[in-house]
Symmetry: C2
Subunit: 386 residues, 2 copies
Amino acid sequence: MVPGGTLELSGERFVVHYRLAGEEDEARQRAQAITVEQTIEFPADLVAAGDIHDHVLGRIASFEPSAGGTGWDVAISYAVEVAGTELTQLVNVVFGNISLIPGIRLERLELSSSLLKRFRGPRFGRQGLREMFDAPERPLLSTAIKPMGLSVRELAGFAHAFALGGIDVVKDDHGLTDQPFGRYRERLERCVEEIDRANRKTGGRTIFMPNVTADGDDVFERARLAREVGAGGLLVAPGLVGFDTVRALAEDDSIGLPIMSHPSYQGAFVVGRESGISHYALFGQLARLAGADASVYPNYGGRFAFTRDDCRSIAAGTVVEMGDVRPIFPAPGGGMSLEKMPEMLETYGRELIFLIGGALHRGEDLVETSAYFRQLAERMREMGRD
Amino acid sequence: MVPGGTLELSGERFVVHYRLAGEEDEARQRAQAITVEQTIEFPADLVAAGDIHDHVLGRIASFEPSAGGTGWDVAISYAVEVAGTELTQLVNVVFGNISLIPGIRLERLELSSSLLKRFRGPRFGRQGLREMFDAPERPLLSTAIKPMGLSVRELAGFAHAFALGGIDVVKDDHGLTDQPFGRYRERLERCVEEIDRANRKTGGRTIFMPNVTADGDDVFERARLAREVGAGGLLVAPGLVGFDTVRALAEDDSIGLPIMSHPSYQGAFVVGRESGISHYALFGQLARLAGADASVYPNYGGRFAFTRDDCRSIAAGTVVEMGDVRPIFPAPGGGMSLEKMPEMLETYGRELIFLIGGALHRGEDLVETSAYFRQLAERMREMGRD
């Protein structure tokens, strides 16, 4: 038997909503197991009465059959002090060890107000990006330079064309890093230059977002270089570098650029429907809490297996009330084309960033296709009004 | 149509083995899709003939029915230049976007020799740890200080008892970070002090491994502090901070300590049997490539759903030939107890670190139970000889 613990705690708790699979008995046991696994990770019967039992352990706040009848909706509360002040530890508490147990899905975070105050979240958010592009109402537009293997000159040429057409965000394809056949610095400099040149012609505000997903400090070196050279934002994959790297980028005043998060290496959390994390929490709430201003994910009907409901839930997670943490843009992509825009408008409303990649090259002329892309978005100013 | 690309490539490729679910036609299509998705992410029909088609695209090296008859074993090769020199990009190439597609499981990495040379891997490995503990033959022993919520004095008292009993590695429980009720620095200092005191009494070599899983630069600050104060190693969760943080810790000469990787937040990759990453590749090969000297994971028969075969495969991944990258220790834990040791010896042989946590507190006296734990391991010097 170990001592029961004597602690000075605020008493404030935050709530995490899980869906548990299986029969009721099994699910109740598993809920109980979560309260231990995510906190003390120690046989509860070996701990004497005291604050560890009363406060440190997770607590089942509610347990009821899921609406869909396919499991159990369970809310578990944790003391804010367990998560400390660290984003990394918050992620650890809400889904660290239990990621290893099948049949537990993290559905939704309901963070307490003092916990939310510890996270600045996105620096710009929806409103900030709308101001940046002087686009108060229409959906925003994004594309990527690719394919990998073209020369920097060729890729920068595409960037120029996209900007001439009026696409707001031209980003690196997420597979472009600092390969021997396409160096980061050269690509960054040329793309910024070509986009500036286009902006001067059109009076537009297109920005370049290089991919700063990289090893160790290179993330920050590349981000600072991006700022220095005049890039307008950053692309980063939290699955590869950790959510906290997004936070550190967002909070760094010497960088101060908007951030798009990319879903690479995060898919395993969502493809197992009974396990993992909901689309809502992963691509909506967590991306936002970490500080992304836009969250890229595969749209339904493209190359990936997301459903329309999954995608709508992501959009909901980007805007749900989370204290002072700003709403961000959903940025559905992954095999999208111009033809799908009207239906996407119906699904999402105007609060989104259309992300169309390779399909723009199917048109005759890249500038014209890009301009048509922009035109479609402009028309949506009216159509998508709620 | 975009240009075909003109590149100077070495021609060297590395191979990744996937298992694909579904009917043959569908699996063949998906294999083809992987070659595009993980490289150019661009409609292949829009790329003119040239080096992009010939070299940058992934290439199907083999496609055959899985031995178990439950899918298709597919080997895909990639140009080494696509992964560049970065661990982060290597992970991105082998499983980034396709993590979002159900029915694709990364089974095994077969890296080319020049690619392997770019990674130093673990600084110590099995041999280094065996020398550190002067334990050329027996299994090594590990435990964690917990539960969260006890005072630093109480936790350090446990550390003292564990060291008196002769447990090699006393680590922070992975949920202990820098909470208001248990500060990192104080815990580190007290535990190192108490373990040193015990070592002086016993002539033993027990080390303390604090948990450095944290936000941003705190990982490295805590690791450097650990070195300064005299800790013998570090615990870190690559799922939370990214594989590359492990690499950076392992390669940092100003730190120079052995590393245990913890599986927190990595479970989603393995729980979906048809999707995600194999236990072998994730907890064996990737942990090792990143530079962990020991890889913690839940043993079969404990609180988690790993099977005996899963666990054996991890052990195999920790030792399979990977150029100069040293073999590391599997460290199965998660609800283990002394009773399970003989069977574990049968499963793993002597090349492992037993990790027993809370169960040690079930004995009458912590020092005696720890000493008995050590005794059992000493006896295994002979028993487990291959």
